[in-house]
């Protein structure tokens, strides 16, 4: 199953992660490029992050102790 991230968009993948065997709480995915990028969902394992970085996406994992909102705002301001 795929999902399209439009150019210069930011997306938070929380609900698209199968959390049983995944080390992070959430993933903030940014498409800084000028083209659409299709990502594979749901996310099952850590390898997903590296595979999708190769497509040109900027991915920030959110750990359980992290402040999600500040990380997300940081990424959004970077994008802007």
């Amino acid at each position: 199953m795929k999902m399209v991230i439009r150019p210069h968009h930011i997306i938070s993948l929380g609900g698209y992660i199968v959390e049983w065997d995944f080390p992070y709480r959430n993933l903030i995915v940014v498409n800084p490029t000028d083209e659409h990028i299709k990502i594979e969902v749901p996310v099952f394992d850590e390898d997903w992050i590296e595979e999708h970085r190769k497509l040109g996406l900027r991915i920030t994992p959110v750990e359980y102790g992290d402040n999600y909102l500040s990380l997300w705002k940081r990424e959004k301001s970077k994008l802007e």
Binding site: M1, G14, G15, F44, Y68
Partner: protein, 371 residues
Amino acid sequence: MDKNVIETEITMGTVHSAAIEPYRVRLFVEDEIVKDAEITVGVNHRGVERIMEGLPVEKANSLTEKICGICSGVHLWNSVLVAEKGLEVEIPERASYIRIIVAELERIHSHLLYLAHGNEVLGHETFSMRLFYIRETVMELLRIIGGNRVQYGVPIIGGIRPRAELDEMKVQKIREGIDYIRGKVKEFADRFTSDPMIMSRITGVCPLNRKDALRLAVTGPTLRATGVEFDTRKEMECYDPFEFDVITQDDGDVKSNLLVRVFEIFESVKIIKQALKNLPEGAVVDRSWEMQDTDITKSYVEAPRGTLYHSYALEDGRVRNVVIRTPSIANIGAMQYALIGHHITDAQLGIVQCDPCFTCTDRAIEIIKRR
């Protein structure tokens, strides 16, 4: 997948007569037989989790009810359960029973909607219309309990909304309603399974094997249709007083998926009957709890489509770090594999067999930045 066997690509959606919700499907076919498939979701994103971030917990809870138009109640229930778990709130037993009655009525209405939609995609409009007709009874019961057909909003932190308290008249109406539904669904099941034309269309069509189902984290009735005996209700404490069976089928095909849901309607009727018979006396809400900060708390509930996961932390009475994972996400993804080797006309049926709910699925938090 060997590219050489793919003759052409057929795309359907995002608007399509067999799909009640928007999604895009690309089918790679050879002589009308599907060789590979790609389903794309996210067309209808709403970003509920982002909106919930920082809202007072009561408001955030009521927002979760808007995630889905079919299983609205179970989203609210699970969201309330997260708060109750974090705040260590004990709810009155009567409230717990009424919550279960509502959840099971919702399961019946969701499964009836599934059967009706499945028949529509099969091309059997008559069954579809009649099933929608039966479903009206459940919708009416939900309206009687919660005051609304779709968003009945029964659970609140500490119990249930006093409006949803069951008096003798309501109990009697629910009893009559579920007896009617049980009888009608039984008649439907007999007629449906004895129809050779329908059986020929659904037997062995788009099967998902057990190994793939487990690998792809498929849940709920779609997982049980492949023969795996797993139901989150058996893990939930509030379901301990009720006796019911976990329905399984072996083949994972359209027929198994339809039959699992038909039998689950009977099990739900069984649970509601037990709940009505043993309904404890007493208050339905306990408002003596106090707000405090909590760590990230998780809660799992068996929604009509499978295991539903809600999780958030509380900070100054506001929700933080919300994650909601709906069962359809894994289920729809798995259906790509079930379609392979089957005819294009069966492809939509193959996707529909997992009871996909795209409203539940499309909650990605996306922010549009205008260039």
